[in-house]
Amino acid sequence: MATIIIIYGILAVGLIVSLAKSKEKTKIAFKVAKKSLLKTAPALLAMLGIVGLILGLLTPEKISSLIGAEAGIFATLTAALIGSLTLIPSLVAFPLAGSLLRSGATVMTISAFITTLVMVGIVTFPMEMKVLGKRFTLLRNGLGIIAALLIAFLMGVIL
């Protein structure tokens, strides 16, 4: 809800300023918007479907049973895989991670889950590729996985 208010608020201000300055340019802005939205539409539809499939399979209970029960490197790698695959709002992810930590998961596993969740988005691949290019997307997410695993390892050692 807050997101919607903020975005529409920014848009309202932007539109008022833009219209006051030039009607012509505002029109062009809408044209650019329409064109990019249509171009991105197939990727967006695919993304929606994939999010549903993944979250339909990986419910919070399922995630808990996969990474909460056992410790060790296997749990950490599973956590990283789940984090990369899913797109979960932080309001759901952090409480889940907190309860897993309390029920015995290691810091390394939990940070692997959180860091991949926020740094790697396999579900958003189609959209990111459409908007920012294939190379950019593959590099950013590939490096993101490596960075996330390193961060998880360091956090396991430090904390």
């Binding site: 807050a2 997101t3 919607i4 903020i6 975005i7 920014i10 848009l11 932007g14 539109l15 300055k21 340019k25 505002t26 062009i28 802005a29 809408f30 044209k31 650019v32 918007a33 990019s36 939205l37 991105t40 197939p42 967006l44 539809l45 695919a46 993304m47 929606l48 479907g49 999010v51 549903g52 499939l53 979250l55 339909g56 419910t59 932080s90 309001l91 952090f94 991670a97 930590l101 939990i110 940070s111 959180i114 926020v118 988005g121 958003t124 959209m127 908007v131 920012l132 290019g133 294939k134 190379r135 950019f136 590099l139 950013r140 993101g144 960075a147 390193l150 961060i151 360091l154 956090m155």
Partner: protein
């Protein structure tokens, strides 16, 4: 028709998986459809204004200013500015992709765009509050610090890579945007 099929092959493929799932595992199919519907509603509300904002950015953002603030010679200040932009309370990461593309087009450096996207996804202030509450201050602070360092290294590396091996296909698709 052929063009339509080519353009929509990915969503059509996903739709096929759903149909199979409805036949073989209706339970999962039902849960998945519910999730998809929820996300559809969210995106239907959020994405149109985001794309209009992107259009406004394409039209109004002064190229010389963006180049100066976020371009290749913006240095430490540019990096810091990108990081700060990303931490503002806004929305999910797919909101940031079109905005990042606009910034790139207006002359922001690849390093700064990578930092901006990373900070948008990983270092959001409201998200940090939730993290502190459920995982504790030490966890959140350590992750914040390490992620910041990682993003800077990733950004520098990606700039070097993409300068040497530019994504020609993508560059071609963006030729006719207004300056």
């Amino acid at each position: 028709m052929k063009k339509f099929l080519k353009q929509f092959k990915l969503p059509l493929g996903v739709a096929l998986v759903y149909i199979l799932l409805f036949v073989f595992s209706p339970d999962i199919a039902r849960r998945s459809s519910e999730v998809t519907w929820e996300y559809f509603l969210e995106m239907a509300f959020i994405l149109p204004p985001v794309f209009i904002l992107m259009g406004l950015m394409e039209v109004w953002l002064p190229k010389d200013k963006i180049q100066k603030w976020l371009g290749n010679d913006s240095g430490l200040r540019g990096g810091f500015f990108s990081l700060a932009l990303g931490t503002l309370p806004t929305g999910p990461v797919y909101v940031a992709f079109p905005l990042a593309a606009s910034l790139l087009h207006k002359g922001a450096s690849i390093t700064n765009v990578v930092i901006f996207l990373g900070s948008w996804a990983a270092l959001k202030i409201p998200q940090l509050m939730v993290e502190i509450k459920f995982l504790g201050l030490p966890f959140a602070l350590t992750r914040f610090a390490l992620t910041t360092i990682a993003l800077i290294i990733m950004g520098l590396f990606m700039k070097a890579m993409l300068t040497r091996f530019p994504d020609k296909e993508w560059l071609k698709s963006r030729e006719n945007l207004p300056d």
